[in-house]
């Protein structure tokens, strides 16, 4: 497919997975209901039909088992791409991820490769019951040996999933589930994507730097748009890679704007915002006109669906934080 196609984020992931599987016969997909059903979000739709049950593997209902066998498959030379059905169900696999997947390369003295991708539909906003709206990124970013990325739009989704699969290191790949089936974008399979390990300025501005990733990028872009209406020029950076962070574009930006806000759905306490704020402060201390403020999920469990609009930072809450920073 050499021509540009309009795709949702879900379809873009599907296309990216397909291309990765075509490119490398060692790429396998594993997960619950990813075969005939195509996954509960249909991200793997049609792939088992085309690549067979040996490459698109419906697994027993056991997340530790999925990750543990993925480790074995990786040691046998395969590149397992694991789907965790919902964010809240990654925790049974947490031990295999942080103690095995993350450490294997290190403990083997650099011999073993662990090219495992763990796809996690993450975040809230879909009106789901509990355990279906978590944002577990900080817990993985804190773990050396893992790399953690989040896509925010169809084009990135298409490229980033392929880049993650090509990576020789384990990648926690976060997919903003509430954007799966929203706005389409043009995907040109011949284009040259930016590196996976890069953050991207997605809107230029001069008064304040707004940092975000995953589902919050669209919210932040809308916030910036709204702020522009009030004469405020906000630069928006899509972090994309959460570990390692690519802070170059961020500190460049903050040195110009002097102000920053970090937004995510995850709980603020020890969320990504803490690290980003600490690092920006360290690197741009003399440029900062105000402390880096954080907007995020409250430090409560994710609430029942009919309260989630309060829990999730929205345009207003982002702008309120922007106001507070501007007032310094």
């Amino acid at each position: 497919m050499a021509t540009t196609t309009k795709m949702t984020l879900a379809k873009a992931l599907n296309a990216g997975l397909r291309r990765a599987m075509e490119d490398d016969p060692k790429v396998l997909l594993m997960g619950e209901d990813i075969g005939r059903l195509g996954g509960v979000f249909r991200i793997t739709d049609g792939l088992q039909k085309d690549f067979g049950e040996d490459r698109v593997i419906d697994t027993p209902l056991a997340e530790s088992g999925i990750l543990g066998t993925a480790v074995g498959l990786a040691l046998a030379g395969y590149r397992p791409v694991v789907e965790i059905q919902f964010d809240g169900f990654v925790y049974p696999a947490y031990d295999q991820i942080v103690s095995q997947v993350a450490k294997m390369h290190y403990r083997s003295g650099g011999r073993a490769a662990m090219p495992v991708v763990v796809r996690i539909p993450f975040g809230g906003g879909i009106g789901a019951v509990e355990h279906h709206s978590e944002s577990p990124e900080a817990q993985f970013a804190h773990t050396p040996g893992l790399k953690v990325v989040a896509c925010s739009n169809p084009v990135d989704a298409y490229w980033m999933i392929q880049q993650a699969i090509a990576s020789p290191d384990p990648v926690i790949f976060l997919e903003p589930k509430r954007l799966y089936h929203s706005a389409k974008a043009d995907i040109d399979p011949e284009a040259t994507p930016p590196p996976l390990w890069s953050s991207q300025v997605v809107r230029r501005g001069s008064d304040l730097t707004l940092l975000c990733y995953g589902p919050m990028v669209s919210t932040c872009l809308r916030a910036a748009e709204a702020a522009a209406g009030e004469g405020r020029s906000i630069e928006v950076v899509d972090l994309r890679t959460l570990s390692p962070l690519d802070l170059g574009p961020v500190t460049d930006s903050v040195r110009r704007t002097g102000r920053a806000v970090v937004a995510h759905e995850a709980h603020v306490n020890l969320g990504m915002g803490a690290e980003v704020a600490a690092r920006i402060t360290q690197e741009c201390f003399y440029s900062l006109e105000a402390p880096v403020l954080r907007v995020g999920g409250f430090d409560t469990p994710y609430p029942p669906a009919r309260m989630e609009e309060h829990f999730l930072p929205d345009l207003d809450r982002v702008l309120e934080a922007v106001d507070r920073v501007m007032e310094y």
Binding site: R36, V40, P60, L61, E130, P301, P304
Partner: protein, 377 residues
Amino acid sequence: MSQHLETGPETLGGDPTDYVQLLTPEGVRVEHPDYSLDPSPELLRCFYRDMTLTRRIDVEATALQRHGELGIWAQLLGQEAAQIGAARALAPQDFVFPTYREHGVAWVRGVDPLKLLGLFRGSDQGSWDPAEHNFGLYTIVIGAQTLHATGYAMGMQRDGVVGTGDPQRDTAVVAHFGDGASSQGDVNEAFVFAASYQAPVVFFCQNNQWAISEPIERQSRIPLYHRAEGFGFPGVRVDGNDVLATYAVMKQALQRAREGGGPTLIEAYTYRMGAHTTTDDPTRYRLDDDVQRWKLKDPIARVEVLLRRNGYADDEFFARVQQEADGLGAHLREGCRALPDPSPLAGFDRVYAEQTEELAAQRDEYAGYLASFEGAN
């Protein structure tokens, strides 16, 4: 002699008739050497009523979801006998740990079904009081509750309410789970703990043949009830569409647990007639043929035949139950729409039993933020 089992019956999942059955799909009573039951007409009517009302809850909730009043609903269609049989076998003091599909058990335990809707609507995460109904909150993380049940059962041992011989005191605990759940580490660890401490817990697995789109064969190549034997406690398979058999088998397992005999695994062999949940589309992964075949094994129809054939219930009875079901439907439809949305601030106050200054400050800050909008209006 060492045992070198060449396990695995003819077909994966085993011979489906290899189970305890007391009432055939045609409504004929059959005997079983290990499980005799002489149910009173009253009990049979009770089963019928429970199953019919439970099905009505399910139908109403499904419709409410279609109308956008619920975010999602996990249907129990087809599993009424398994749930009602299991629940009616309970003593009042027994405690139940459900999954997200035990609407029939909730019904028997006296939980207003409206409270089930609250969870699926997103108003709360379960608003009944587990201690009031001896019925725990729904658990969504697959298998987690089987360990809770086992721990609770260990608590009963420590409370001294196991094996005392006093039927009013001796307590059993039930862990519900599905066929898919049997693959989870937690469920198998629950088996280990329960066996190790001989905890008074009954593991009640509704094998409805599906874990979303995955057939039981993905989880196990042999009948699930065999799993227990490898952990050192008995397993038994029952016709989960037969409320009598389920009741009888459950009664015996609960009694064994209460007496200090330790855990039992019951596999209730049944079928998920509906979708996994209202967001699922089973046409993508299963044949309608199967569903049609299982329709002939409907759990309610066979009890109706039995009641009518023996003259245990007349038309008036059936009409009354129907009327009751209609009343229940209305209760649910009206009640659901009237369920209050959660207060945006209340959540902050129940993260901890002892509130922290940090979180109280976060609450106040958000209260101020909300107030700023009110001011603006």
